[in-house]
Symmetry: C2
Subunit: 102 residues, 2 copies
Amino acid sequence: MNITELEVRVLKSLAHPIRLNIIKQLSSDRLCVCELCADDDFTQSNMSQHLRILKDAGIVTVEKEGNKMMYEVKNKKILDIMKLVDEVVVEDLKETLGGFTL
Amino acid sequence: MNITELEVRVLKSLAHPIRLNIIKQLSSDRLCVCELCADDDFTQSNMSQHLRILKDAGIVTVEKEGNKMMYEVKNKKILDIMKLVDEVVVEDLKETLGGFTL
DNA sequence: TAAGTATATTAGAAAATACTAATATACTTA
DNA sequence: TAAGTATATTAGTATTTTCTAATATACTTA
């Protein structure tokens, strides 16, 4: 795999609503799978598959603790990326609403 | 579309080798389609489709000049994102090679 | 106005991704 | 050791994305 392919894999791994949700949950805490599944209506199997995609892309790391698997964001620059993506989207929305004064 | 869906669309639009190549070419210059096609083996049709994906996601803007369409990166934060993605990948590679001393 | 150049669109097939349901593995505690 | 809890894997189907080839549109220049 060359650099471009690795970059594509990182971007692809982030480009899914469930995985975005995972990253956001992990942005402040280190969590196990059952905690990640808790509030939402994900099946455990599907969550596990998404976590593997993030792990394979090098976005998260896992550590075993008893019978739980603790996930955590590996490189904090991922959070910076997410922040920038959010800003890009928000700036775009603001521009779309440009005609309005509040 | 909510914020998360918009974020996913931005990330998806970046997550493809041809589109990454387009962004890199546009990072320094404002270019027309024929210039973007020039050095590589893309078909014009395929290039056009990828450009539309980037335009729909709000990544690039287009302006007509004569019979050429000039493309340009709309929000420079996209370039910051690409830089961070590159750093994440490179840091990961360095870590993988960690055992070696040069 | 005809021919050439630049770009976009469409349709259909091929490839990749995502989801569900069932099953497997591994640890923990009664 | 049996039962319960936490997580992973597999297989199959459904959905989405990507590519190619053909065609359409729009501008330019002879």
